[in-house]
Amino acid sequence: MRIGFLSDIHSNREALDACLAQAERQRVDRFVILGDLVGYGADPVYVVDKIMELQATRDAIVLLGNHDAAAISGKIENMNQYAREAILWTHDELEKQQIEFLKSLRSSYEEEDRLYVHSDATAPDQWRYITDAAGAERSLRATLKRLTFCGHVHRPQLYHMAPLKPAVAFKPQAGTPIPLVGNRKWLAVQGAVGQPRDENPAASWGVFDTDQNEFTYLRVSYDIETAAGKIHAAHLPQILAARLYIGR
């Protein structure tokens, strides 16, 4: 089975559609959505509806992210000014049915030898970032599962940890299948679909092939003009549009 992982879509309709189209070409059987469906971007309703549809028709597993939680609760104390503005705007945009859907999401999910979570697995509701090997190690030690898939940092990065050894970081190259060989744990941090921050503006996602035991990071370009234009039109902070072009 080929599982597509989409994280940090952030209300970016154009990026989501580009990833889903590529997912068809990549023969993805099922999706796992690793949280942060909304926030920052201008299409929260479309994105949530699309993910609801994937859950209903394609058995997608959908997890909660910090922006989703904020959009439901209105709790924005821990966010920067731009994120706050976007969340308040998003909250007004969403209808009851999208809010209900976001409320139904869980913050982590386990199946077979895999753990899915938005951020650091030590405390999924604390939304800690995994930015280095030490952070990855903390998260990997908090689970018995061999493979962890998460998002949150908007930068694709792979970590692996052999028994009794420290975790090691690896910078993956898009399009190269990487065997997640046994006898060690792996943490695959997904890049962002809707707001990449690794200096590469292309939408970022990944596929895990359970038969081959291989994970592939993927990139796809999308219509940034349109996505950014909508952010301007919605009078969201300009910087949220500008950063899409430079991937930062």
Partner: protein, 484 residues
């Protein structure tokens, strides 16, 4: 972990019938095996996993199991099957028919030409391996098979590194990973990201075959490994005067402690091994003594300051890609303008790729029948004249010796011989002229057309901008040829 089956001759595992045991080492054992439907001879390599579950052996096996199936070509054994550590671990691969290079070591010192020939085969294998993003990192005689068909095949990828895949050995950093006599200085300092490490180890191997002596002996302790960071080896010609200066130059250049001073690519090393006359000789070629006491002490002092972190930083720099560029120079009369355009193109290419090497090639066209080609009217050797003209052509480029080489090939089929040269020298790009932009010529077939169609690499065709009258001439020609 499920109980593992004890292998013995005659037993069957996943359809493979176990035959003779051909190797029992500390890390792995090898068995000849057969399976219905597989015609080529095959072997099963099984890691030696004792009760202790030695992590290095397991990780080494995982690396090999990960890398081997991703490799292809004649310079590696073909992979048949891989079974992971979680089950009964093994790799089944082609049994390479030929001689393990270790067997030849007893005959050292070998004739210098023989050493160069073996070196060229191994360098060709490294070109192929590096092209596939893999560093071997354990080049030594026992890990090289000379196929009966002639090529070198590299085996044993337990310490190797695939540059696009995570390095599972990375966290085993408390010990340098490699084989004592062969390990490169940067591997001693825990850097596993430089293709030039394989060039260093190949240098050790060539030194050993040429002199019967190992340049740094067999280091007993990790401390002994560091000597190669600052102590230069005894020049091979001092041990075996039969070694020509050019071969000493090549070997010592491979053995430079700083990777920057070695051949930038295996292809450039191969080039020199195949063209002894074109090797740029430096002080290395004629050196007959090791460096003196003070120089050595200075180097030793400096090397002590090198720590792992620094080396890691150096390795962050992009891997060098110094390409070999072939300029096919037509020296015939009336072609001066084109030859100048070709030179401008060469200058442009060389300007943008540091470390590039230019091979200027001219083909002396032979008539299949008349073999009276070797002397022209004035009795001068045409071959030599052409060489001189080639050098003249390249002079304005202002390239240093060693950055440019000159070759006059003799063939009835210039296109075929250029392609052959590009193949056997791993040329990365060909620059070639096309006379006029004539479609008629395209119908008739030309050298550049053939080269574009069949070259193993990028080809840049240089043309002079067509003048208006030439274009109308061409249109006329087209009409006459009956094309609408």
């Amino acid at each position: 972990m499920p109980a593992r089956q004890q292998l013995q001759t005659g037993s069957v595992l996943d359809g493979f019938t176990i035959g003779e045991k051909i190797h029992a080492g500390g890390m792995a054992s090898l068995w000849r095996v057969t399976k219905p439907g597989i015609d080529m001879p095959i072997v099963m390599k099984v890691p030696t996993i004792l009760d202790g579950e030695d992590a290095t052996i397991i990780v080494g096996f995982e690396m090999e199991a990960m890398i081997l199936p991703r490799l292809s070509g004649v310079h590696v054994p073909k992979t048949v099957a891989v079974k992971s550590i979680a089950q009964q671990p093994y790799v089944v691969m082609e049994y390479v028919q030929g001689t393990n290079l270790l067997k030849l070591l007893d005959e050292a010192p070998l004739e210098p030409e023989h050493v160069a020939q073996i070196g060229a085969k191994i360098a060709a294998a490294l070109v192929d391996l590096h092209r596939q993003n893999v560093l071997h990192l354990d080049i030594k005689p026992s890990n090289i098979m000379l196929r009966d068909s002639g090529e070198a095949a590299l085996i044993d990828f337990g310490l190797s590194r695939h540059m696009l895949l995570p390095d599972l050995l990375e966290e085993e950093f408390h010990v340098p990973m490699g084989t004592g006599p062969y390990i490169s200085p940067e591997q001693v300092l825990h850097n596993r990201t430089d293709p030039r490490s394989d060039i260093f180890s190949l240098g050790v191997l060539l030194y050993h075959f040429a002199t019967k002596v190992r340049p740094w002996g067999i280091p007993k302790f990790n401390r002994g490994l560091r000597a190669r960071l600052w102590r230069d080896p005894v020049p091979p010609r001092k041990i075996n005067p039969a070694i020509p200066p050019w071969l000493q130059e090549v070997i010592l250049r491979c053995l430079e402690p700083q990777a920057l001073n070695r051949y930038p690519t295996a292809a450039q090393l191969l080039f020199d091994l195949q063209h002894p006359d074109e090797v740029r000789l430096t002080e290395r070629a004629t050196r007959l003594e090791q460096s003196g006491f003070w120089t050595t002490m200075k180097r030793r002092f400096r090397s002590a300051a090198l720590d792992t972190e620094q080396v890691q930083q150096i390795s962050e720099r992009p891997v060098t890609t110094a390409p070999i560029v072939l300029a096919a120079v037509d020296l015939s009369e009336g072609m001066e303008a084109l030859a100048a355009a070709l030179r401008r193109e060469a200058a442009r290419v060389l300007h943008f790729v540091p470390g590039a090497r230019l091979a200027c090639v001219n083909v002396l066209k032979l008539n299949r029948i008349g073999l009276n080609y070797s002397r022209d009217e004035q009795g001068r050797n045409i071959h030599v004249t052409r060489l001189v003209e080639l050098k003249e052509w390249a002079r304005p480029l202002g390239l240093g010796v060693g950055d440019v080489t000159f070759h006059v090939l003799e063939s009835p089929d210039p296109g075929a011989s250029l392609i052959e040269f590009a193949k056997s020298n791993n040329v990365d790009q060909i620059l070639i002229c096309a006379r006029g932009n004539s479609n008629l010529r395209r119908y008739l077939g030309s050298t550049s057309t053939k080269v574009v169609a069949e070259a193993p690499c990028t080809v840049t065709v240089v043309r002079l901008p067509a003048a208006a009258n030439e274009i109308s001439e061409e249109l006329e020609a087209l009409e006459q040829a009956g094309t609408p």
